[in-house]
Amino acid sequence: MIEFRNIEKSFFGVNVLKGVSFTVPPGQTVGLVGENGAGKSTLMNILGGNLPPTAGEMFLNGQPYAPASPRAAENARVAFIHQELNLFGNLSIAENIFIRGFPRKFPWVPWIDQRTIRVRTRQLLEEVQLARSPDTLVEQLSAGERQLVEIAKALALDARLIIFDEPTTSLTSRETDRLFAIMARLRERGIAMIYITHYLAHVQQLCDRIVVLRDGQVVGAGEKAELPIERMISLMVGREITQLFPARNTKPEAEIALDVRGISQPGIARNLTFQLRRGEILGVSGLMGSGRSELARILFGLDPCATGEIVLNGQSLVGLSPRERIQRGLAFLTEDRRAEGLCLEAAIADNAVLVSLPQFARGAVRLVDRNRCRSAVDKIREAVKLTASARSEQPVKTLSGGNQQKVVLAKWLLNEPKVFILDEPTRGIDVGAKYEVYRLINELVARGAAVLMISSEVEELVGMCDRILVMRRGEIRDTVSPHEFDRERILRAALHDGSIA
């Protein structure tokens, strides 16, 4: 059906896919599993025509297949069901299915043949067992129903290959069962499927074959019987540790810096409780969509929480704005440095003093003391080891990723935070810069600050943290202490469904 032959992909010299080869036989369902960053999305983007491969070939039914656009992939009858659905809420089900090309009543008049699209949609909805009128607006459907509309869309294309990317994350268990029943029927009809998910039990339940990716390579492939859940996990984690971590000479103190008691928010967080001590680095592990970044946003006051208590050095933070939380010593490095962490067009110096600017204001009219500002920037540049070649007046966007991240850190360090939340602090930066970031984190806790470090890289957490919380589906599933640090245990808690364990 579809064959990947030695697919390679590199971004800016970094190899993301290193010679991936596997086959999806006709009418079979292949489960594609791997940690975040293993290369699953990149591979699927290549399959869907969003990205060209750097090297390698794909064959669809024996024919060379190299889609130049998503449209080309569709024309080859390859359909995608993404986690974020591509539906228009303001249009009806029928219109969503036919938006690419409406059948016309008369060939030369642009008049939609309403009867045809209704009849056709009704048939498709029957196939996916969705009991809704074709005229229902999509925004009135539940998440599960929308998913079924996406599948109906794929069927309308007469797809030969359907790729499901984490289709169950926003579904109730009943909706999930219904989805699986429909997938089983699609399989009987001879449609090949690729199923990507973190729920390994689902992979075992649904798939004929399983392919495990790690670091852009296929590390295991075979019939599902050959790859039970335990085997999949150990294949996924078998990564060599290449990163070095700076030594730390301080230990956590007894005093509690941040006390989080029972934070809950419907659909986002369930009864999150933990304590962060002065001088401690507490890691948060979990897959994308596990609620780790959402936890950070709640702690910082960007998102609401329905119940629960957040106490910073004895003061409750509930009801305070992010600004007031910053004044009380909280800092938050976001996972999206370019969009949320920096003003890219502005100068390094302006970015660095952004948070602490009020401290540099002077006199009755509160003008900024530029001399003091400049000397503070010079000092903090030194501390974060920003590249000497960059002038402070230079726009931040001209810096490398690592140096940009140092500017973000400088911005918060100038405010001397007591509790620093770091969300993916080393994402997209090179090994040398990572080491610098680790060193800065260690220095920060040595001075008595507390750090909550969220990361997709388990090695990083194991190398840096005093304890690690593991989150899944908005819950803390496990708390791991240093003597039990074990990638497999962490991954199992992050991946595994409670019902299976």
Partner: protein, 331 residues
């Protein structure tokens, strides 16, 4: 579950807000003045609505794509200025009308070119072309008021089967616009682009083409609104069409069209909004309210309309909020 269904209920109410508002306005004026409910008054309101109504129909196309066109008043002015010069220069009425409509199309195409090809924000582009149009119109008219011959006036006074021509034109424009938006691929694609440009592009829709068409339609409607306006008062003054864009936007938004794109309708929505604004004005007139108060009252209504739109968007965002797990279903 219960919170989401109450949001759905709120959403439905908000979607009917213009209708509710209209009923309230009718009731208030009806109670205050018995003269208000006479049929002659209804016809009068419709005639006076027609120019702004046509303008608002064109504006609805643009707003549906989450854009805006601030130049429509200027387009009216330029078309009227050129039309006035030509008819005073001895052109036939039909020739003049064709030229005026063509000016609307070209002007709209110009806006569209800047917006789609140079990727400049619609707000900025049409703000610039608004000033350009007003300047151009003043130059053509040499800043003097132009009184037009009776041919325009006869157009406005004409009746077909007893229905005044301006109302017929308004009804015709509304009908065509409504059918285009609801029954043609282009219309549905306009809604898709307004809901999510990126998703529309991924679905293979020619988003630039769609945007181009909506600005051309808006320009064409502006020229037509200019013609209808001239037929009611056949004179081109230096302030002709000035600030009419805001009335058009207000009418569309009052009728439930969202400034955030993707939501709204020409019928009944925008038509209702336009009639509502005119009804308030006429009602205040009948009640002999100090005319200096009109702008204050109209501004209050516009504010209410935009507020409703904002509230509706927020409710919608709450309904569609991303969730990472689903609460256990009650068993």
């Amino acid at each position: 579950m219960s919170s989401s269904s109450s949001s759905q209920l709120g959403l439905r109410l908000l979607n009917q807000a213009s209708l509710i508002l209209f009923a309230v306005v009718l009731l208030v004026f009806g109670v205050l003045s018995p003269a208000f409910f006479q049929p002659a008054n209804a016809v009068n309101i419709l005639i006076q609505t027609s120019s702004t109504g046509i303008l608002a129909v064109g504006m609805t196309f643009v707003l549906l794509t989450a854009g805006v066109d601030l130049s429509v008043g200027a387009i009216m002015f330029v078309a009227a200025a050129v039309g006035g010069k030509l008819i005073l220069g001895g052109w036939s009425l039909s020739g003049v009308l064709v030229v005026m409509l063509a000016i609307g199309v070209v002007y709209g195409a110009l806006n569209a070119l800047f917006i789609t090809r140079l990727a400049i924000m619609a707000f900025i582009v049409t703000l610039a072309t608004r000033y350009f149009g007003r300047g151009l119109g003043l130059r053509i008219t040499e800043t003097r008021a132009m009184n037009l011959p009776d041919s325009f006036y006869e157009l406005g006074a004409a009746r077909i089967l007893g229905v005044p021509l301006p109302i017929l034109i308004f009804a015709g424009v509304t009908l065509v616009a409504h059918l285009v938006l609801t029954r043609t691929p282009l219309g549905r694609q306009i809604y898709a682009v307004g809901a999510d440009v990126e998703a529309a592009r991924k679905a293979g829709i020619n988003t630039r083409g769609v945007l181009f068409v909506v600005y051309v339609v808006c320009g064409l409607c502006a020229a037509a609104a200019g013609i209808v306006s001239l037929s009611q008062a056949p004179a081109v003054s230096p302030s002709f069409g000035n600030n009419r864009e805001f009335m058009a936007i207000a009418a569309a938004v009052l009728g439930g069209t969202s400034l955030f794109g993707g939501r709204g309708a020409v019928f009944p929505g925008t038509v209702l909004g336009a009639v509502l604004i005119q009804t308030i004005e006429t009602g205040l007139n009948i009640l002999n309210v100090n005319s200096y108060l009109y702008p204050l009252i109209i501004s209050g209504v516009i504010f209410l309309a935009v507020l409703l739109d904002a509230v509706r968007s927020r409710v919608l965002a709450r309904v569609n909020r991303r969730r990472i797990f689903v609460e256990a279903e009650p068993t």
